[in-house]
Symmetry: D2
Subunit: 285 residues, 4 copies
């Protein structure tokens, strides 16, 4: 994202005149709208908008612009946030023994697909160390002691906060985070579940799928909440399978889904495309 870009996200009760008012404020400060996407939920009577604008033509400054937006936001009872291209988001990847999602994110990161800085990899297994090293990303090995899980979480929190992490990505991280941890990082933790939620919640979804004899398997990326596998869904995909597929085949096929579905969620989050409300997401594409 160019340093001269701004992105404004708003959510508010639906009312007449919102689009025109916001456009007018931006125009009044000399910000050129590049892109404006919008959604109205007629059932909930809510309005959502994402506006990307060019800052290089600002006739005032960022502070004045934000003051202007704040006034409008109060009038329309808006939740809003603004992001600037020069503020690079900092990401921590949490991994366990399985390495396909970890590799995938780091390869995309290096290819420039993910507008962020991957500041660290944290894992409860040592296996990821050479991978992180290969991509020049700091690695922290935090093994989980069955008797003292809180200690590991405390160490993780310290690392994450010291590094001012904006987003935590659970790349097939096999530990369940405590309510305290989840509460601390709110809508800033993205997980990948290896099924088409809400089918096959919980453990061993590929085995569950095999036993049920489904003809498609899926993967789901979602924000983490304290209801396991119940968080707002960001992206999903499925792939065909058949009676010929063993559980191992399902696992292999599923890996390809997991990588793509997780990477899309992370990219959309970093591009400020996602709004959460009522337990689900609006994803502006």
């Amino acid at each position: 994202m160019s340093a001269e870009l701004g992105t404004l996200l708003v959510a508010c009760p639906d009312r007449k005149g919102i689009v025109a008012t916001l456009a007018q404020v931006l125009y009044g400060h000399g910000a050129n709208i590049l892109d404006a996407d919008q959604h109205t939920d007629p059932v909930a009577a809510l309005f959502f908008q994402r506006i990307r604008f060019d800052l290089s033509t600002l006739t005032t400054d960022r502070t004045s612009l934000e003051t202007g937006i704040r006034e409008v936001a109060e009038r329309f009872a808006m939740d809003w946030r603004i992001a600037y291209g020069h503020q690079v988001r900092r990401v921590a990847i949490f991994a366990s023994k399985q390495e396909h999602c970890l590799y995938d994110l780091l390869i995309r990161y290096r290819a420039g697909e993910l507008p962020c800085e991957v500041a660290m990899v944290i894992s409860n297994h040592a296996d990821g160390a050479p991978i992180a090293k290969h991509f020049d990303v700091p690695f922290h090995h935090l093994p989980v002691d069955a008797n003292d899980k809180p200690a590991q979480e405390a160490a993780a929190i310290e690392l994450v906060e010291a590094a001012r992490i904006d987003l935590i990505v659970l790349a097939r991280y096999m530990q369940i985070l405590s309510p305290a941890f989840v509460g601390r990082f709110g809508s800033r933790i993205i997980n990948i579940h290896h099924s088409f939620l809400p089918a096959f919640v919980g453990a061993n979804p590929y085995r569950q799928a095999y036993v049920r004899g489904v003809k498609l398997i899926g993967a789901t990326s979602h924000y983490v909440t304290n209801e396991l596998d119940e968080g707002p869904i960001i992206e999903q995909a499925t792939i065909r399978c058949s009676h010929r597929d063993s559980v191992d085949d399902l696992v292999r096929k599923g890996r390809d889904l997991e990588k793509v579905v997780l990477a899309s969620a992370v990219r959309w989050h970093l591009e400020d495309r996602i709004l959460v409300y009522a337990g689900k997401t609006v994803v502006f594409d």
Copy 2:
């Protein structure tokens, strides 16, 4: 299916020599194997095979061939069945108010996609009558009286048995069949459920999908059992949706899935491609 075709389906405990023995029996009677598809479930240690063969070159006759197969079947403890191309299967379509699956099946039937005779349409609504008439298929209106549902089922059973129906297709039929009815027609009832099972079982799956905020909706065709929405799955498909889709949009998108997923299941059943075991299906394609 040409009148000169035979299809043999077998299922048995996995053992050495099954393929060779069956091939030898068919060859010994002059039946030329056109196609042989096979599956071994290593977990359950079961063997499945579908063999299509040409009868026009038989050097004995059908009775002798079946005797030969029966001997082999006993030796290997096989479940088996044989179908001949000249025996056209008779189908009854059960429908309710929604007409898209009914239309779809009848159009495919007329286009020659479904090797069967659609012998009747039964509906608890009168709306389907002109549709059945347009395709020259007998129509029976069996309205459901809330106080006397068994009477309607009894009437349906009488019609189905009098017409020697081989397969009942529930084309968005909105009544739940009694255990007695299901027991009577065993694995000869195919239903379409408008979700990606096992997600969103029960009523109003599109509304459930909307509330949960999924990014794909699905449809599932399955054999009917007395556990609602739990029968062996035959085919499934999904389609993308987003926050922009209202429940009505999901319903509209879902119709396209339902038609294709139900029609595939019906065609595969009629082509003797499906074996059921352990609550799931082997579908030889």
Copy 3:
């Protein structure tokens, strides 16, 4: 589409202030913006927007609103058009011997999926007559005389113009339209081609696909131009095939694609979601 809805489509050279200016004009007349979707092509430096608005809150009238828009349009060198919900578009379906797309469009029409009036079916074969009759749509049989094709086209033009047709849908219509015909109806003719264009242009695409041994077949809906199969693409889809599929199997599988891909294009056209430029389309979804 509700009678109180308006839809404005604009295309113009990209410039600062367009979004704000248009929003301001609509707001100034009391029109409430329900939906605004926008696209900027950075290569061509062009701006595109689709705005849906509520007319019931207009404080002036349609004429004043259009005068306001016209002034803005001149200032920004815009191409623009406006559609109102009370103006129901009139559609003519052209068909030949194959009936699956014809059936599909008429079923969707009756189900309320297509906001239009299907005013007539024209075919060079008589087979479609009972289908049109079943759906209460006028049918015109215009057989093509090899020696006098222009006469048929002249008759078609007369019918279409007399009925003030807004959109012609070629539902597997197997005659090539003359440049004169195409010129007359501009971007108001939608065709379905049974391949993934630009692969397999011309005749017998399924046979071409079979010979080439592709692993997917496709279908493409597009606006008709005088370069055969070269018109702006509206929608495409593909489905898996394999060595097992005969040409007939490809035809059967392809039908399902053709129906869905053509119906989407027709619906999007009727909902004023499509803008054409540089030989391609912007489809606002």
Copy 4:
């Protein structure tokens, strides 16, 4: 693949008795058939079969078994080949500057998805060296001198032959191989083309797709022949795109397709699932 597995692939004119005869020969030597897949091309009147069998139960030995098969093969004019699980295939990956397919293959290789030994990576760019090193695979940098391309090919041939390579995978290798090179390695070179062939042959397919305004992009893996982009297709996939996608977006989306489509082709080749005839493939899944 277990060391005790054998795979027999045959192709011959279609004739009565082939299936039974082959099954009988294997059974006679004590080889237990685990899996038999078969295809008859009724147009070309050709028969194809893949049989996987268990060698641990052989009552004779491999030489006798092959003698038996050879006799049958002569009688039926069969092309045939046999592969044993203990013979691990040796693979060379050719790469250029783009690294996504190279990474993908090496990650799958390490995860055990590809039954082979990746014996070397050859690249005309040095960038791949640390990647190969990370996965402990020998790397050879063979830069292409515009004035002396034959020298690089000669060096590659020497490396490949010295290492007794069974399969060459072109993982976005951007040099065109000479007819001499292609002739030497016959059907043992697999390439990935970044379009849905036969659409967009030649250079810059994503740019071509952008200009044409297609709504799906694709990728195709195929065996290499001396007709550029005309070799037998092994696998294809497509993904949706829209007017919003720049050429860079298409490139990014395409990478995900390319990885999956190339890896499937390589895996199927290594599992002896592919037969080539008449410029296309039979892929037994």
